[in-house]
């Protein structure tokens, strides 16, 4: 195969992904290791890349330790309850105890945070503070760019595979990828690698399937590469069965947190009923989490799900009721509330503002539909899929500790943000913080392990050929059909994505299956996704833009397969409202308050699944 030129980059630390976690990792690593060569590889441009590129209207993870608002212990208790009993308390605590420093630094760099008259931060909820966050990403990227230096930022480079040491498959050695805009292959040789790439949107068939496939709730740029990079090299993963199903404004997917917590709006059904009242008894079925305060997010979903299933929709966010009440007849106050309501969308989900305008919805007059979205697999927001990582030395029990904070089971491979499993509710600030923690640990690792791993030229050549194969496949076979998109020798990335989404939707409990599946359905889905994974070797791409899409669908397919295998292993329904195992409809704390972990063995193309203990640390 004729391959383009390879650019080889040798570095101490390779950060894959330049989102919030990646920028945190870049900033932190150069403070502790100013002598080290730190490189960022990013498929876009770090000023607008990642899930926060569009902006944010709130920081959702802030303790306010200096105000005495919350302690990290409070945070752990809240998160474990919201996750129905399963989160790594050492990891959650670690983010909680550090996150305030990140928020204060972001403010110092230029992030405008809403203030009360006395100068303290305004609050939305217990952990949430409102921001004028349209530029949170450029504000975050700027010091990261300065810290590592422009010459060490490789933008428009798509990283497709990790590389392990030629003599030791459990030691990281770097990564490979290609230039999206330049006709080039890349080889990154690194002594430590930090995965900060994204969780996964568009694994499940979304509710909007034409142009609207881009209007996913979680960023459409988040292609599951955090998992698609780590799984194939045998990294132990955890909680890949977990998913997040957001309740959001219908179709535009505008945020609801401000409406629930700041404006105190209710959601009512077609009969005017509030499901949190009429479905209150349902919470007794899920002790002890059902009666925790606040009600865990999946159970709130579950209550609404029952209303919709019983034909009581549409569900409306009663924006008009909340705004009239807040304004109390004062036009100036109403103007302020209106400004705040529109900013919530214009700062972060502009599509929702257009949805309102296009449907002539004035929120002070007209209530607005909400719905349960398609599932998302992620590790940063309310999801907890990701790598099984070591905890910090002073917090982690022996079962959770193997030397370096946030290091995966592959030596020298660290993760942060969506890449770290069982550590949810990080959001933007927590992901940035986790990137910083991973980076400091990576510098420690390098001080203890200064030798460069060895890279096999043959392995690199093989991976480079596989990266380039879709272009070659298209070239070789395009003459076999007069219709470019219909050819027995290849499938396009767009076609493969639709197939993945159909499998996931119908077999793994997507929206058309009412979030419901069972063992035999999952087993059938796994057989079909195995065939899809084989067919992905016959992806065809006309150009490097399509080649990017090819590797995105490969990563998403790894996520889908891992998700189904984990769903099959966990024989209970732990998160009603996110998914239902019809054959195991109850939550089973006695047997399943454990983490489900997996490891993929590439040499034998086999998955092994296992459980790891949940250990209570905060009493």
């Amino acid at each position: 195969m004729a391959l383009p030129v390879t650019e080889t980059v040798e570095c101490d630390i390779l950060i894959i992904g330049g989102g919030m976690s990646g920028c945190g990792a870049a900033f932190e690593s150069k403070f502790w290791g100013s002598d080290l060569k730190v490189v960022i590889a990013e498929k876009a441009v770090i000023e607008r890349s990642g899930a926060t590129g569009e902006g944010l209207s709130a920081i959702n993870c802030y303790m306010g330790q200096r105000y005495g608002w919350n302690t990290p212990e409070d945070f752990v208790q809240y998160v474990v309850n919201d996750m129905m009993g399963l989160a790594r308390e050492d990891l959650v605590y670690d983010v909680g105890r550090h996150v305030d420093s990140s928020v204060h630094l972001l403010e110092e760099w230029g992030l405008p945070i809403w203030k009360k008259e006395d100068g303290t931060y305004e609050r939305i909820g217990r952990w949430q503070i409102p921001i004028h966050g349209e530029s949170i990403k450029p504000v975050t990227a700027e010091p990261a760019r300065k810290a590592v230096g422009q010459e060490n930022i490789y933008e428009r480079v798509s990283v497709t595979h990790l590389l392990t040491d030629a003599n030791d498959p459990e030691r990281i050695a770097g990564a490979v990828g290609f230039g999206v805009r330049e006709n080039k292959l890349y080889l990154f040789k690194a002594k430590a690698v930090i995965i900060t790439t994204g969780g996964a949107s568009n694994v499940f068939r979304p509710r909007s399937v034409n142009e609207g496939i881009g209007r996913t709730w979680y960023s459409v740029f988040a292609t599951g590469s955090a998992y698609g990079l780590m799984i194939p090299v045998g990294t132990e993963m955890t909680q890949m069965e977990h998913r997040f199903v957001p309740t959001r404004f219908k179709d535009g997917y505008g945020p609801v947190g401000m409406w629930f917590q700041y404006f105190h709006a209710r959601v009512t059904n077609a009969l005017g009923e509030d499901y949190t009242v009429t479905r209150d008894d349902e919470l007794d079925k899920y002790p002890p989490y059902g009666r925790a305060v606040p009600t865990p997010t999946p159970l709130r979903n579950h209550q609404m799900f029952l209303d919709i299933r019983d034909g009581k929709g549409p569900m409306y966010m009663r924006t008009e009721e909340a705004m009239q009440k807040l304004a109390g007849g004062d036009p100036a106050k109403m103007d302020q509330v209106r400004q705040e309501a529109w900013e919530d969308f214009l700062d972060m989900t502009i599509a929702q503002a257009l949805t309102w305008a296009s449907q002539n919805i004035e929120p002070e007059v007209t209530p607005s539909e909400v719905n349960l979205a398609e599932p998302y697999i992620m590790g940063s927001h309310s999801g907890e899929a990701g790598a099984w990582v070591s905890g910090p030395e002073d917090l982690a029990p022996p079962e959770y500790f193997w030397g370096y904070n946030k290091m995966t089971t592959i030596r020298g491979l660290f993760a942060a943000g969506d890449g770290v499993g069982a550590a949810p509710h990080k959001f933007s600030s927590g992901s940035f913080t986790e990137g910083r923690l991973a980076a400091k640990a990576a510098v420690n690792f390098l001080r203890d392990n200064p030798a460069a791993p060895s890279v096999s030229d043959a392995q690199v050549r093989q991976l480079h050929e596989s990266i380039w194969a879709p272009l070659e496949t298209f070239d070789r076979h395009q003459g076999a059909s007069t219709t470019e998109g219909i050819n027995p020798n290849y499938i396009t990335a767009a076609q493969a994505l639709v197939r993945l989404q159909k499998i996931m939707d119908e077999y793994a409990g997507g929206t058309s299956a009412w979030y419901t599946t069972n063992g035999p359905t999952l087993e059938r889905g796994i057989r079909l996704i195995e065939m899809l994974r084989e067919d992905l070797k016959q992806l065809g791409a006309r150009n490097r833009h399509e080649l990017l899409r090819c590797w995105e669908v490969v990563h998403r397919t790894w996520v889908g397969e891992a998700h189904m295998r984990h769903l099959l292993h966990r024989q209970e329904t732990r998160w009603p409202g996110y998914y239902y195992r019809a054959d195991y409809p109850d939550l089973d704390d006695a047997n399943w308050r454990v983490f489900v972990n997996s490891r993929y063995d590439a040499a034998n193309d086999q998955w092994s699944l296992m459980t790891r203990p949940y250990i209570n640390l905060v009493k």
Binding site: F27, E28, K30, F31, W32, S34, A44, V45, G53, E54, Q65, Y93, H98, S101, L105, E107, W109, G110, L111, P112, H132, G133, E134, S135, P138, V139, E142, P143, A147, S208, N210, E211, G212, I213, G214, R215, V220, F221, D251, W342, L346, D347, I350, A351, L354, A357, S358, Q359, N360, E393, D394, L395, T433, R436, L437, V443, N444, H545, L617, V618
Partner: protein
């Protein structure tokens, strides 16, 4: 909500910025330059997440958004204009009603951040500890909490 480019207003950034800014900034590799017409265009509108990165950056205000055909009725628009340290938004409803909002987006001049300014940690001596860079000042409390201390 896919972006589209008004061909009358687009000048492909007139040879400045080493190429069109929309092509530079698009997080999803969607905006491209049509070499024949020398205009920007969205090469894959079904994967556009309406993030507006290109719309906000376009010096000609040539990029607009036509709401997703899946669920957005025709006739409305949401258009930003960059003002000093913020954005002004014009929201036009399907029925012709117009709202205008201006919000700040950063409190410091672009480029003014100073990484590690006044940080007092010792990169060698404090490396083994749990504290992050700058935390002795920026955490907001005197001591980094630990579980050992709380239990």
């Amino acid at each position: 909500m896919p972006t589209f480019v008004n061909p009358t207003a687009c000048n492909a950034c007139a040879g400045e910025h080493q190429g069109p800014l929309c092509v530079y900034i698009c997080p999803n590799d969607l905006m491209a330059l049509d070499l024949e017409s020398n205009k920007g265009f969205n090469q894959e509108p079904q994967l556009c997440s309406e993030c507006y990165a290109c719309v906000k950056l376009c010096p000609q205000e040539a990029i607009h958004v036509r709401g997703y055909s899946d669920f957005i009725p025709l006739g409305a628009s949401v258009q930003p204009r960059r003002v000093e340290n913020g954005l002004t938004w014009t929201v036009t409803f399907r029925n012709g009603k117009v709202l205008e909002f201006t919000y700040p987006s950063r409190s410091t001049p672009v480029g003014s951040s100073e990484p590690y300014k006044d940080f007092t940690e010792d990169p060698a001596g404090d490396l083994k500890g749990q504290g992050l860079a700058g935390e002795s000042h920026w955490l907001g409390v005197d001591k980094l909490p630990s579980l050992a201390a709380s239990n």
